[in-house]
Amino acid sequence: EAGVAQSPRYKIIEKRQSVAFWCNPISGHATLYWYQQILGQGPKLLIQFQNNGVVDDSQLPKDRFSAERLKGVDSTLKIQPAKLEDSAVYLCASSLTVGNVLTFGAGSRLTVL
């Protein structure tokens, strides 16, 4: 079974630039999550999708972050404009449905200069 795919693995940008991360979940997984993990911290949920609908985006900084999951499969997380404090690893995870074990991708490491 293929795992959760994420790209790019690494991205370096300057502040005020924009960046987009892509995630392809495990086939058949209805629930998709984006987490932000700042160095030395545990992952923090940004947004949760159930199929192509948003279940929870209460911790997503909506003035600069946006995410979509078109057709209930792939998802894209965008940051525009980026700030220094956005430097983190962005982890995508998927599960068969809510309440099931999350499978994580390898993450996308963002450095904002």
Partner: protein
């Protein structure tokens, strides 16, 4: 909101020694998940505990959820270099639709 505190924050052990990592929740745990993360990689699922008093083992790693369901421990027996990494506990607050909240992690180093 639920918070998870892990202890210790970091641990250095000699190969072959046993160790324990703790995870304490500010609220009752309905589902407690242990993950392992290596630097630069995603989280690898280890075990899930749901019932008070439940204990699960996989190879040399044993996880327990206490009876009152507010604390979990992860015990590694005869540690090996392959056990090195960051161990994270994650909790489900029980509403059935709530994603995992994570602790800050425990960084484990195993030296020969």
């Amino acid at each position: 909101s639920q918070e998870l505190e892990q202890s210790p924050q970091s641990l250095i052990v000699q190969e072959g020694k046993n160790l324990t990592i703790n995870c304490t929740s500010s609220k009752t745990l309905y589902g407690l998940y242990w993950y392992k993360q290596k630097y630069g990689e995603g989280l690898i699922f280890l075990m899930m505990l749901q019932k008070g008093g439940e204990e699960k083992s996989h190879e040399k790693i044993t996880a327990k959820l206490d009876e009152k369901k507010q604390q979990s421990s992860l015990h590694i027996t005869a540690s090996q270099p392959s056990h090195a990494g960051i161990y994270l506990c994650g909790a489900d607050s029980g509403s059935g639709n709530t994603p995992l909240v994570f602790g800050k992690g425990t960084r484990l180093s195993v030296i020969a």
